[in-house]
């Protein structure tokens, strides 16, 4: 008793998807032994000789020299004895690879091309699409063409999983979409797919999720069981506390606010991002805001000053402080002589300052001798606030979130990118008129960044 066996192209190099047939070492009718080299192939990594996994008589070479064969597709068929090792594989594995063989050999119709999902993949990109895990269920559609081939005739590539399935319950969805569906309690079987490959998309899942379940994952964590948590006041937290108290109780604070249309600033940011000069540099509205403040300082020098008992020191340079939230707490490093910097230099300095702060590597020198500060509370989604002065300085500006809001333009309501600029001043130094002019100047640059050309 004999049967037909196939040798499918294995993945010989950790993640290859295909190989080219370089030369055949056998021809139909040849008797081959186990481990006899039958073909030389070239993969993306190397030239490899493939030894035959079974003993038998070659029936057919299933690719020509020069052909590119996908991993998992048959190279040869051969007549082998029943029970030949290497032609006998476990039931589960054989079902899967048999179908792959058939899909290639028989190729009788569309059923063989049916798209089915794979579980997880790795390896090089396959221009012809991923090699898919075949469904045993789909085999039945071509059984008429292959009844002569025993199921156990084809050795399976290592690790080739076959998952029996019900064709009518197949759903196509990528793993992140499956997770989303599971998180939202959406039954994928009931979702109508709209993806290009008949797969379920993120939108399909979100559309099927009820409002309630969408919010389910946003629940606030339960309160810890302890009634109180005691956090020692030390290190950065202690320094923050001392600075805040000293600032709040020595300098009389006054805060003012102005709403501003930041649409042009946002467009400017977008253009800077797209420019080749700024390639690789982070550009944010904070950069324009910093420039705006330095422009306004030049027009209102009194906000860039230090108050001492004997004298007011007006600085003719700007050491530009940026409040940074770090895992250890609030710190305010500053960029020395920021007013002398070009837009690009300033952008790089801000990026560097933020990175250093995030890594917890900000030095005391970085935090010393600031002259004016900005706090970007908008990144936390709030509109504005009344910041407390960094000790030794007389002005601090808060940049609120920038978002689309109704805005009156030429007596008509339009949607514009709107933000609020808030600022606090030391009233011992900065009078109301100076404070107002300074904030107005900042706001005017945000409204029209072209003023920076002044």
């Amino acid at each position: 008793m004999s049967k037909i066996a196939y040798f499918n192209l294995p993945d010989v190099g950790e993640g290859l998807t295909e190989a080219e047939i370089v030369s055949w070492k056998v021809k139909p009718g040849d008797t081959v032994k186990v481990n006899q080299v039958i073909v030389e192939i070239e993969t993306a990594k190397s030239l490899v000789e493939l030894p035959c996994p079974f003993e038998g008589v070659i029936s057919e070479l299933m690719a020509n020299e020069g052909d590119t064969v996908e991993v998992g597709k048959p190279l040869i068929s051969a007549t082998v004895a029943d029970g030949a090792v290497g032609a006998t594989v476990s039931e589960a594995a054989s079902a899967a690879s048999m179908h792959e063989a058939i899909a290639n050999v028989a190729a009788t119709g569309a059923a063989a091309e049916e798209r089915t999902p794979n579980l997880v993949g790795y390896g090089t990109a396959d221009p012809n699409g991923p090699i898919r895990r075949k469904r045993a269920g789909a085999v039945s559609t071509n059984t008429s063409a292959i009844t002569a081939i025993p199921a156990a005739a084809v050795p399976a590539p290592a690790g080739h999983l076959a998952v029996p399935t019900h064709p009518d319950t197949q759903v196509l969805a990528k793993p992140p979409i499956r997770k989303l569906a599971a998180d939202l309690g959406v039954d994928l079987g009931k979702v109508t797919p709209t993806g290009l490959n008949g797969d379920i998309t993120r939108e399909d899942v979100l559309g099927s999720a009820s409002q309630a379940s969408v919010f389910r994952n946003l629940s606030t964590p339960a309160a810890p069981s302890e009634r109180e948590e005691r956090i020692p006041v030390k290190g950065v937290r202690k320094a923050i506390a001392n600075a805040m108290v000293s600032s709040a109780f020595t300098a009389p604070h006054v805060s003012i606010f102005v709403d501003v249309d930041a649409t042009r600033t946002m467009e400017y940011v977008k253009r800077l991002k797209a420019s080749t000069d700024f390639a690789g540099t982070k550009v944010t509205p904070l950069l324009i805001m910093a420039k705006a403040m330095m422009w306004a300082v030049r027009r209102n020098p009194m906000v860039n000053a230090t108050f001492t008992a004997e004298e007011i020191i007006v600085h003719n340079f700007v050491n530009f402080g940026i409040a940074a939230a770090t895992p250890r707490g609030l710190i305010v490093p500053n960029i020395k002589d920021a007013d002398k910097m070009s837009m690009l230099e300033l952008a790089q300095a801000i990026e560097q300052l933020a990175a250093t702060a995030r890594e917890g590597k900000t030095t005391p020198a970085d935090m010393k001798d600031g002259t004016i500060t900005i706090t970007n509370i908008g990144v936390f989604g709030v509109d504005t606030g009344t910041p407390i002065l960094n000790p030794g300085e007389v002005a601090i500006v808060a940049l609120g979130s920038i978002r689309p809001k109704p805005w009156v333009v030429n007596n008509e309501i339009q949607v514009r990118q709107v933000t609020t600029i808030g600022a606090t001043f030391d009233h011992r130094v900065v009078d109301g008129d100076v404070a107002s002019r300074f904030v107005q100047d900042v706001a005017s640059v945000i409204e029209e960044p072209a003023l920076l050309l002044d």
Partner: protein, 372 residues
């Protein structure tokens, strides 16, 4: 200068199969005198077994049965010889190419194939074999070995006066690993604590595609000197030198001599792994030179001169074919592990977090519409 050239090394068996113990190495020669003919036959049998196993595994990988294969062809003498030089009380921390050493310590060969097929993580019990799991991360196993040796030292299991209680550690690594900080750290700790460890470096001359010359300016056996780890070079293709030198320094380590390094100069005849194509970076002439220095061939010549007949070699060849067909059959019959298996050995008892993860995975698999 190439660090592999013109360095004295312990060689007892020339590439032509001539046996001689150089005078200055008489202390090693005495270890050979204690060997019986049965020991010699065992050495040969296991080297041949290792090579046949290796060839079959290479074929199985090419037939899609293993995800990867890591051949040790050409290094059998270094491995079998040193493996038998290790005492039964001692602990072995191998790299991922030590199939020969595994053979000498009773590791089930199918366990290695299972690991390289991806159906287990090694599977043998290091507590029984004293052969720890393969170190896949280059050099990491040498730190583990050093830590173990320090523990042995702190437990006072060195130079107890009772040889049955003394214990030492050996760690295997390649020339490439010597360039890892792990190895230098191991030397430092082993030397400072005077721990009982032998560092066994198989210099197979290629760290994947990087030649030894690009990795070191001094011969590797001298790498430990500055740390306080003396060393010696041996001909790694000479099974007798490999056995004798390893056995002596393991004995010394057990008796409190501290760490020692053995550099076994050998050659990786095959590829780094089945994913590597060595023809891209080394010449055929070089491979031919080393093939002529094959460890099995010279030992066969030696045995025939000792009067071992054709029957023995035929018997070994037959046993090799039997082994090959057995592992072939067993490999094709390997089943994928159950999904649950990977959760089974995290905790000895069931654990709520692990149970939850298993449940999740089951639901995830079920989301494909299959029955698993």
């Amino acid at each position: 200068m190439n660090a592999n050239d013109s360095v004295p090394m312990v060689q007892m068996l020339s590439p032509e199969g001539d046996f001689a113990v150089p005078k200055n190495y008489a202390e090693y020669g005495s270890y050979i005198e204690r060997l019986t003919e049965e020991d010699f036959l065992k050495f040969y049998r296991d080297m041949a077994r290792c090579r046949r196993f290796d060839n079959e595994a290479t074929a199985l990988q090419r037939q899609g049965q293993l995800g990867l294969w890591i051949p040790a062809i050409g290094q059998e003498a270094a491995q079998i010889g040193s493996g038998y030089g290790v005492g039964h009380n001692d602990h072995i921390f191998p790299s991922y190419r030590e199939h020969g050493v595994a053979i000498t310590h009773g590791v089930e060969l199918m366990s290695i194939l299972k690991m390289l097929r991806g159906v287990n993580h090694g599977g043998w019990n290091p507590d029984e074999t004293r052969f720890h799991l393969y170190g896949i991360v280059l050099g990491s196993q040498v730190l583990h070995a050093t830590g173990y040796a320090m523990g042995v030292k702190f437990d006072g299991k060195v130079a107890t006066g009772n040889k049955a209680e003394d214990l030492a550690v050996i760690s295997y690594f390649g020339d490439g690993a010597t360039a890892e900080g792990d190895i230098s750290e191991s030397f430092l700790f082993a030397a400072n604590t005077h721990s009982p460890i032998v560092f066994f470096c198989q210099n197979n001359q290629w760290a994947i595609s990087s030649p030894t010359a690009s990795q070191t300016r001094v011969p590797l056996y001298r790498r430990g000197e500055g740390f306080g780890v003396p060393g010696i070079r041996i001909d790694g293709n000479d099974v007798l030198a490999s056995y004798a030198v390893t056995a002596k320094h393991m004995d010394d380590a057990r008796e409190g001599a501290g760490p020692f390094m053995i550099e076994a100069l050998t050659y990786r005849i095959g590829a780094h792994t089945s994913s590597d194509d060595p023809t891209k970076y080394r010449s055929d002439e070089e491979v031919a030179y080393w093939t002529a220095r094959d460890p099995l061939k010279r030992f066969e010549v030696f045995l025939r001169r000792q009067g071992i007949g054709e029957d023995f070699f035929e018997e070994v060849a037959e046993a090799g074919e039997k082994l090959a067909s057995e592992i072939r059959e067993a490999t094709f019959a390997l089943k994928n592990p159950d999904m649950e298996d990977m959760f089974k050995h995290v905790y000895s008892d069931s654990h709520p977090v692990i149970d939850e993860q298993l449940d999740w995975l089951k639901r995830y698999e079920a989301s494909f519409g299959g029955e698993n």
